[in-house]
């Protein structure tokens, strides 16, 4: 593996390899000394053109626990706000000796541009690009589902027959897209529930069932119910009349929580809008995996950085 740009082109074998290595990383996080020496002397740059706290610190924790050096670069208050191009920024990082660049960008496809440009030799990890993909979020979600279902016996298993319902703003959600592709690769069945205004116009090519009624989806007894954040910063049109109406029709309240089968889990990529897409009852219940997702995120990102950086640079792979 040279880069991690999306889950759409991530094969089943590579996906399972990341999830299995994440198991080992999670085990190491239980030890007295949590740090592993695998990436000693490597430099990981967090290149963030969009605001993010949790993803950035999760990648930072992951890199540091593997003994890599971390440089944080956020576009605000940097040379980028003075008009520096992506090419110049990238070449600066290259000159500083970056071994991996973890990139978040508002434009879909920016990480791929960086990875295929020839500006840098570092491995590129997509940490969210526009409305395209957020692959490590999907990987940590799949890891969380697998862990809840198979516990200590998770290694080597996929999610065949697992039923996932994703609810909310599908139109703008890179989390939903990455999850859709990865879950499909791993054999899970995906249902998308959304207001008709917040679903892309043509989704016939998506391997998912599309619905508009949350109660109907809950009655179907999904194994995992994933509530997406209403991204206020992207709500620049009248997608739904009021927040109250959204919450009443598509929010996970106490009554809907009670209607879920006893062993199904409630997921949220965070940060949560409590009272909007998810009620406090649901967010704090024992079936909520929100905090597990955060902890698993570090393990999964450690696995990705390890697989990208630990081995010798293979020239055949470089040519791809």
């Amino acid at each position: 593996m040279r880069h991690l740009l999306d889950t759409k082109n991530l094969g089943r074998e590579d996906a399972l390899r990341i999830l299995d290595v994440a198991e080992d990383m999670a085990d190491a996080q239980q030890r007295e000394v949590k740090k592993l020496p695998a990436l000693r002397g490597k430099t990981v740059v967090n290149l963030f053109f969009e605001d993010s706290t949790r993803t950035r610190i999760s990648f930072e924790a992951a890199a540091k626990r593997l003994s890599a050096d971390v440089i944080n670069f956020s576009a605000k208050g940097s040379s980028v706000s003075k008009g520096e191009s992506l090419q110049d920024t990238a070449q600066t990082l290259q000159a500083m000796g970056a071994d991996a660049v973890v990139m978040r960008h508002g434009a879909s496809g920016a990480p791929r541009t960086l990875a295929t440009s020839g500006w840098i030799t570092a491995g590129v990890v997509n940490a969210g690009d526009g409305t395209h993909e957020h692959p490590t979020q999907a990987l940590l979600d799949a890891y969380t589902m697998r862990k809840r279902r198979y516990g200590a016996d998770s290694r080597g298993r996929d999610l065949a027959g697992y039923r996932v319902t994703i609810v909310g703003d599908i139109l703008h959600s890179r989390v939903a897209r990455s999850n859709l592709w990865l879950l499909n690769t791993l054999g899970a069945e995906v249902t998308l529930i959304s207001p008709p205004t917040l679903i892309p116009q043509d989704v016939t090519a998506w391997p998912a069932r599309i619905g508009y009624d949350l109660d109907e989806a809950i009655a179907g007894g999904p194994d995992a119910l994933m509530m997406l954040r209403i991204q206020q910063e992207r709500m620049n049109a009248a997608y739904f009349p009021t927040e109250r109406e959204y919450s009443r029709t598509w929010g996970l309240d106490a009554a809907r929580l009670a209607a879920l089968p006893p062993d199904s889990i409630v997921m949220h990529p965070g940060p949560m809008n409590r009272g909007l897409e998810i009620s406090a009852d649901a967010a704090d219940s024992a079936r909520s995996t929100v905090l597990e997702q955060v902890a698993n995120g570090v393990s999964v990102r450690m696995a990705v950085l390890y697989l990208l950086l630990a081995g010798e640079r293979n020239e055949k792979e470089d040519a791809r």
């Binding site: 390899r17 080992d24 085990d27 740090k35 390890y306 010798e312």
Partner: protein
């Protein structure tokens, strides 16, 4: 290219029994012992030795697995290696007598990595080393405490340990020119 079998099933069984007796003798009994195998075949050997120790002493000797992949000094010189699970027995290793078990002892670099890995998990009272085959050519000041068979070999020969649990049969072979 010639392949010759240097240890057969019965030889391996005898060697492991002898190693088990030596472990008990040097430890003056089964107290405080923990066996940690280095994946893949070291783990199988540790389980077998644990079983034999149990038969001899009547006590249960915990056996686990210690993966050393991320501690290797040649990590960046090879294609990415996938780590194997580490399983530390529930009693931990603090204050215990840890016996590392490996199939073939060669350069000693895996054992150096294993010592680093142990340090991150706890602080044993003593660490000892058992190996089924010692083929020489050490590159570090490391020496085994319990050896199944000393097997002088040329550096370019390949020594393989095959075990029924992993490979379907028990044998130690040496491949050379």
């Amino acid at each position: 290219m010639s392949t010759r079998t240097v240890l057969h099933e019965a030889d391996i069984a005898r060697a492991l029994t002898r190693i088990s007796h030596e472990i008990l003798e040097s430890n003056r009994g089964p107290d405080n012992l923990v066996l940690l195998g280095i994946p893949t075949r070291g783990v199988t050997l540790a389980e077998r030795i644990s079983r034999i120790l149990g038969e001899i002493s009547g006590e249960t000797i915990p056996a686990g697995a210690l993966d050393v992949t991320m501690y290797r000094d040649d990590l960046h010189r090879n294609p990415t290696r996938t780590p194997r699970p580490t399983q530390i027995p529930s009693g931990g290793i603090d204050g215990k007598v840890v016996v590392l078990v490996d199939d073939v002892l060669f350069s000693g670099r895996s054992i150096r990595a294993a010592l680093d890995a142990i340090q991150d998990i706890g602080r044993p009272a003593t660490v000892r080393l058992a190996t089924l085959v010692d083929r020489g050519h050490r590159e570090l000041p490391i020496r085994p405490d319990f050896v199944g068979k000393n097997l002088p070999s040329a550096r370019d020969e390949r020594v393989r340990v095959r075990l029924a649990e992993v490979d379907g049969e028990d044998a130690v072979t040496i491949e050379g020119e």
